[in-house]
Symmetry: C2
Subunit: 241 residues, 2 copies
DNA sequence: CGTCATTGTCAACGGCATTGACAGACCCAT
DNA sequence: ATGGGTCTGTCAATGCCGTTGACAATGACG
C-alpha cells in the first residue's frame, strides 16, 4: 500500500514536490559538519542551510541517528575511495604501504568532518564499500606471509586503531576553540612548572612533548608506524617457523 | 524525603552547613556513571541521587564541564593507583609488563564508568597523578635502552593509544542496549550473507571476526601486544646500532 | 544582636530532538 | 476534470537538558 512508486517515476522530468531529497540533505549536513561549518550538527542549523523548516528532514530520515549513520557511511565510502585512488589496481607486495594508505585515507575523510566522527562514536556501519576494502587488506597481508585468520585479526586491529585514534583527534578539534586553547594552555603551564629535580626525564622531554601536543597527525603516524613494526615482526616470525 | 548524609561537622576551618560537598557530589556522579547506573549523567539524575535539588550542584561546580573534568581526573588517578598497586615499587627490567599493566589499569578505570570516558572526549587533564606515572614510564623505557626523547615519544604514543581505544569501547558500551543489539545484529547479518565467491578470505574469517566483535577487551590486548612488539623492535635496533 | 557570606530551592529561559495536526501539491483512476 | 490518496513541507507543542537569577534559610563573626 505504502511505498508506492518506489523511485522510478520522478527523477526523469520535474520533481513533483521534492525540494528536499536524501542527497541534498546529506550534502547540506556535510557542509554543516565541515570544520569551518561551526561546531554542531543540529536540526535547526540543517534547516537553515537547506532553507527549509528543520522538521522537514524527518520526511527523509526517521531520526537523527539514521541521518548520522548515513553520514558515516558516506564518510567511510569516501575514505575507501580515496585509498583506492592512491593504491595500485593490481596486487602489491608493499603490504606496509597498503595498510598505511588505507588507514590515512579513512582518517583524512573523518577529519574533514570532525562532527560526524564524534557523532558516529562506536557505531558500526558495515557498508559495502568497507567490505571489499577489508577483503583486500586481508589479501595483502596473506600474500605477505600471514595465515588468513591472523591476517584478518591484524586488519581488525588496524581498523579499530585507526577509527579510535581518529575519533580521538576529531573530538578535540570539534571542541569550541576557546576550550581548546584553555586546555592547551593549562597543559603547557603545568609542564613548564615541572620541578626538574623530581621529574628529570619529563623535564628533558618537555619541548618534544609540547610539540607533539599540537600535532595529532604526527602522533598518529608514529603510532601507526610502531604498530606496523609489530605486524612486520609477526610476519617474519611466521615465515621463519 | 531529604536523604541527608550525616558526615559533616568535621574539618577544622570554617564549614557552614555543608549537606553537599565536592566529594559527595563526585561520589554520587560516579555512581550515576557506573555501567549499571543507567545511560546518562544529567543534573536531574544527579540531584535525585543526592536527594537534593539538581541546581544545588552549581554551588560546587561552575558548570557541567568542570564536573566532568573532576570526574576524569578522579578516574585517571584511580587507574594510576591501580597500576601502582600492581607494579613493583623499585625499578624493573620488565618494560613490557610495566607498560601493559599501566595501560590496562587506566583502561579498566575508564570502563568502570563508560559515561565519564565518553564525556571526557579528548580533554586533557594533566593531573598530578598522571605526571609521576608518566615519568616512570619514560624511565622504564630509557633503562630498557631507548634514548630519553624516544622513550618519551613512545609513552605519548602508548597513552594516546590507550585513551583512544578505551573511549572507543566506552562509547559503544554507553549506547543503550537496544541500539547495541541492533548494530550487532546488522553486522552479523551482513557478514553471514557475504558471497564466498567474491570475498573468500573474509568469508573464511567470519567466525573469528564475529567472535572479536563482542570482545573489545581482547582486541585491545591484541593491539597493545602488536604495538609493544613494535617498541621492542625499536629498542633492539637502538641497542645494535 | 545584626550583618553578611554561604548554600539549597524554585521558577524560568533558551536550545535541543521529536511528534501530531494541518495544508498544499502531485498522481491516478474514474 | 475531478476527487481520493499520498507525499512532503510547515507549524505549534512536548519534554529533556544545561544554565541563570531571585529568594530564603542557615550559620559565622564582630
Amino acid at each position: 500500500m505504502k511505498a508506492r512508486v518506489a523511485q522510478q517515476a520522478e527523477q526523469s522530468t520535474s520533481k513533483r514536490r521534492a525540494a528536499l531529497t536524501r542527497e541534498s540533505i546529506l550534502e547540506a549536513a556535510l557542509r554543516v559538519c565541515a570544520p569551518e561549518g561551526g561546531g554542531q550538527l543540529t536540526f535547526s542549523r540543517l534547516g537553515k542551510e537547506l532553507g527549509a523548516d528543520p522538521t522537514a528532514v524527518y520526511r527523509h530520515f526517521r531520526d537523527k541517528d539514521e541521518l548520522v549513520l548515513a553520514l558515516t557511511e558516506l564518510t567511510v565510502a569516501e575514505g575507501v575511495e580515496l585509498a583506492r585512488a592512491t593504491l595500485p589496481d593490481g596486487p602489491s607486495g608493499d603490504w606496509r604501504g597498503w595498510l598505511t594508505v588505507t588507514a590515512e585515507s579513512i582518517r583524512a575523510s573523518y577529519l574533514a568532518r570532525p562532527v560526524v566522527a564524534v557523532l558516529a562514536a562506536a557505531r558500526t556501519t558495515a557498508s559495502p564499500a568497507e567490505t571489499s576494502s577489508f577483503e583486500q587488506l586481508i589479501s595483502v597481508l596473506h600474500r605477505a606471509g600471514l595465515p588468513v585468520l591472523e591476517a584478518a585479526e591484524c586488519c581488525r586491529q588496524l581498523v579499530d586503531l585507526t577509527l579510535a585514534l581518529t575519533q580521538y583527534s576529531a573530538a578535540f578539534s570539534a571542541l569550541d576553540p576557546a576550550t581548546q586553547a584553555k586546555d592547551e594552555a593549562a597543559w603547557a603551564v603545568k609542564y613548564a612548572m615541572l620541578p626538574e629535580s623530581e621529574y628529570p626525564l619529563l623535564h628533558e622531554s618537555t619541548p618534544r612533548l609540547t610539540e607533539l601536543f599540537r600535532d595529532d597527525t604526527e602522533v598518529f603516524r608514529m603510532i601507526l608506524a610502531t604498530f606496523l613494526d609489530g605486524v612486520a615482526l609477526r610476519i617474519e616470525r611466521t615465515r621463519q617457523g
